[in-house]
Point group: C2
């Protein structure tokens, strides 16, 4: 899970212009928005903020830098980076001769596959129900129709999601086998 990569030290010459400031504010907003968004997906808010911050960071970011920037404990950084790393959303980056850990977002959209799975699961349980209902087409009239819509909807949804993923992976030079 560990990526090996040369790190270019972030430029410490901090000239702060007016534009710089507005960018900083926008970053704050974006990071917070990502926190909220991921919370909706049942992920810790900190994990979301982490993702937001890493999206905005051209270079891998140091572990303790993350803690300082987001103003949370190192423990939280440790927990949430591990979580995101396992999910394939971010990558841990190390450099020989440097004991510290850096993190970068994974350019491959790992998170989205999870969404597809969720939709597929719903489709599946509707299909199972429909099969169980088959013996009696009588009372199943309205219900069977509903289930059909349900199944159709989630199936189309998952399919189109997959095709978007495939398209982006293709345009990006990355291939994701087994999901087309």
């Amino acid at each position: 899970m560990t990526v090996f990569e040369p790190i270019s030290v972030p430029d410490p010459s901090a000239e702060s212009s007016a534009a710089d400031f507005s960018v900083r504010v926008a970053e704050e907003r974006f990071i917070e928005a990502m926190g909220l968004a991921h919370e909706e997906d049942r992920l810790p808010r900190i994990a979301g903020r982490l993702v937001g911050l890493l999206i905005l960071s051209p270079e891998p970011v140091r572990f303790d830098h993350l803690a300082a920037r987001l103003r949370v404990s190192r423990a939280s950084i440790s927990t949430n980076t591990r979580l995101l790393e396992n999910m394939g959303v971010i990558q841990r980056v190390t450099r020989p001769g440097d004991r510290r850990d850096y993190f970068k977002i994974n350019e491959e959209p790992g998170l989205l596959l999870r969404i597809v799975d969720r939709y597929r699961a719903r489709q599946a349980s509707a299909e199972e129900m429909k099969r169980a209902l088959l013996p009696e087409p009588d009372a199943g009239g309205v219900v069977a129709e509903r289930l059909d819509r349900f199944i159709r909807f989630y199936s189309i949804l998952a399919d189109s999601l997959n095709s978007v993923l495939a398209a982006m992976a293709g345009g990006d030079g990355n291939s994701r086998p087994g999901t087309a």
Copy 2:
């Protein structure tokens, strides 16, 4: 929010065959699956079960019947039906001369619009960030590209979701203005 509709009294002649039983089991599983699925969407589990049960009910179901069937308190039914009703997922059905409330699922996929909104929101916050980043195209190189992918993905996703919704509404005889 209240629908006005004649109610056909559910047939109390309960002849239970073997097939009937397996259907009952399948229903249980389906309802439970819907409970879990909705929990993932940050809705109370009971709300999800409610939806599951109502999907499987050809006729509107009585308030206290819901409590009995799902074995939860009337308080929970009250809270969760109100929640789902406000979200447009289910409809309260009343009948003149009958003080009791019945519920049915809304055949229009109200819940899904919420998903679209979520995706649009993410797209929007990425767009905002990108705009704020514009003044400095320098450091924005990698980041701007990421944001672009981000925006593109969620935009396509929301669009395709919308078109699925539109298609289903069309094939279903229902029109949803303002979402094409």
